[in-house]
């Protein structure tokens, strides 16, 4: 499989909405350890509406699908979660504008643009114990996958693994931004819930790429 179609992306985001719903309580528990515990419900609320938005079907290309995903998250969720994850998809959409298929180079460009948008808005740097600590390694993994000429399924697989390793590293970090920073040393020993959500996203995208690369329902 060398490229992912419009149909794949629609299917993948609908699958992702279900995956987030399934992970809702785990994400809340992670957030609850060092925050107020609503990250999972915020993500689930947003992606439920993303599901409804994509089901309406008037989105002709991959950029439009990702942009609709991002604006739905920004406008419906509130808090840090909505704006940060929404900014990721809006950023990624710019790199996919007008595209009806995306190869590994496109994936690398989309995730890099998404990361840039997140950092521009949220001001988080690697090491701050945020979703950036899972996303930045995934961006790097996709860049290398493109250099090596890997296919999209393999590229998403390595990106997902890099994100998971990045998420695991947040366990040892003190938070430097967001409400968790007030926890100081107490945040050490807990992984960041936003980083965990990045892993959920990449796991789900990789899974759909294997199970339904052309977007047909399994």
């Amino acid at each position: 499989m060398q490229t992912l179609s419009v149909e794949y992306w629609r299917r993948a985001l609908l699958d992702l909405a279900q995956a987030i719903e399934g992970e809702k309580e785990r994400l809340c528990r992670l957030d609850g350890a060092i925050g107020d515990g609503d990250h999972g419900t915020s993500m689930a609320t947003g992606f439920r509406l993303v599901g409804a938005r994509l089901a309406s079907g008037d989105l002709p290309d991959i950029g439009a699908i990702l942009h609709a995903t991002g604006t739905t998250l920004v406008s419906s969720v509130g808090g840090v979660t909505g704006i940060v994850f929404g900014s990721f998809f809006i950023g990624a959409a710019k790199a996919a504008e007008g595209k009806t298929e995306t190869g590994t180079a496109d994936l690398a460009a989309m995730f890099a643009a998404g990361l840039e948008a997140v950092q521009l808005r949220g001001k988080a740097k690697p090491g701050d114990k945020t979703m950036v600590d899972a996303l930045a390694p995934a961006v790097e993994a996709l860049r290398k996958a493109d250099e090596k000429g890997l296919g999209v399924q393999e590229a998403l697989e390595v990106a997902h693994r890099a994100a998971r390793e990045g998420m695991d590293r947040t366990r040892e970090m003190k938070a430097k931004i967001g409400r968790a920073r007030y926890q100081g040393e107490k945040a050490v020993g807990h992984i960041d819930a936003g980083a965990a959500s990045v892993v959920v996203i990449l796991t789900s995208l990789a899974k759909t790429a294997v199970q339904s690369p052309d977007g047909s329902s399994a």
Binding site: V74, G78, G122
Partner: protein, 334 residues
């Protein structure tokens, strides 16, 4: 403790509370038809700077009950403990903008800044003049010298009242901003948390604290404070808290202040008055005069037990604006 609240579907809590609030106060305010924003009935008021406030839900009466003549023009209500989305803030701004500029006034939290900043960008793109003033009175959240990092809490009660009064005189935007910033810069708060609270969406306590403990400097969302200690008496608690507030600005002999004693939601007025008695004695000993004492629940955190103390130093100008009439659902001055 298990959650025990009279609610319906937890995901509809904010929508339902805003609808119920608007119905209870339909003579003064209306709900925006599309989003969870509250707008004063006579807005946009010609020739007047619009003051738009907002923040996460779960802190009622903040912020929605502070909308009305002499107070804010509109409020953007977020989800429980989560900032309103840019969409809600922008809708609030557009509903009240009268072409004289808009001041966004809210508490300094990351989520609020992200969402309000995006709304500010969007409003400016539409040609609306917008200035932001952040409230950052909570001194436990960052040391002296790093005031810009501090969270906002109960100073809201005084700052919004003053900002609303300045705007009501049809002062220009830069004047509304100047006076509001002065009130913020002279405000300091410190609180004590005695118990946790539960979130409607999860039904879970947001933090744990033993029955015989209290935490000085506890944040409104359970952010850790400066020290966790065994429960003290009211007088001992004031002796711990007030000196930290006084030395921070500092407030000095001969200063005049507005004093706020704010219950977090689960503490009684009985306790607040007992605390006030000690506060007034200590302030009097320090030579600090109290212009007005505000006792009640202004900035709550669901059913959390505990309270916060706020001092706002006032000069003749701030006193004049604070004493002007206002008519909001929660707070009325004749």
């Amino acid at each position: 403790m298990a959650m025990k609240k009279l609610i319906n579907d937890p995901s509809e809590v904010v929508q339902e509370l805003v609808e119920g609030f608007a119905l209870a106060n339909e003579r003064l305010v209306r709900k925006h038809p599309r989003v969870n924003a509250v707008i004063r009935n006579d807005a946009p008021v010609p020739g007047k700077v619009a003051v738009v406030i907002g923040g996460g839900a779960g802190h009622e009466p903040l912020f929605l009950e502070y909308v009305g003549p002499g107070m804010a023009d509109a409020e953007a209500h977020g989800q429980i403990f989560a900032a309103p989305s840019p969409d809600v803030v922008l809708a609030a701004v557009k509903a009240v903008s009268a072409g004289k500029g808009v001041m966004l006034l809210y508490n300094n939290y990351e989520g609020d800044r992200l969402n309000f900043d995006m709304a500010q960008d969007m409003a400016r793109d539409e040609g609306i003049e917008v200035v932001t003033v952040l409230i950052n009175d909570e001194l436990a959240s960052a040391p002296r010298g790093e005031e810009a990092q501090r969270r906002g809490t109960t100073a809201d009660h005084v700052v919004i009242k003053i900002a609303g009064a300045v705007a009501e005189t049809k002062a220009p935007l830069n004047e509304v901003v100047r006076v509001t910033r002065k009130a913020v810069s002279w405000a300091r708060s410190l609180g004590v948390g005695l118990s946790s609270c539960t979130l409607p969406a999860t039904g879970m306590d947001i933090f744990e604290i033993a029955d015989d403990e209290m935490e000085i400097g506890m944040g409104l969302h359970g952010e850790p404070g400066v020290e966790r200690i065994k429960l003290l008496t009211a007088d001992e608690t004031v002796e711990r808290i007030l000196p930290r507030i006084l030395e921070d600005l500092p407030y000095e002999d001969g200063d005049e202040v507005i004093l706020v004693i704010n219950g977090y939601g689960g503490s009684t007025r009985m306790e607040m008055f007992i605390v006030n008695r000690k506060l007034r004695r200590m302030l009097s000993e320090a030579g600090i005069k109290v212009h007005s004492t505000e006792v009640g629940e202004f900035c709550t955190s669901q059913e959390m037990k505990g309270m916060s103390i706020t001092l706002v130093k006032v000069d003749d100008e701030l006193k004049r604006y604070f004493d002007m009439p206002c008519l909001s659902p929660f707070y009325v001055k004749q």
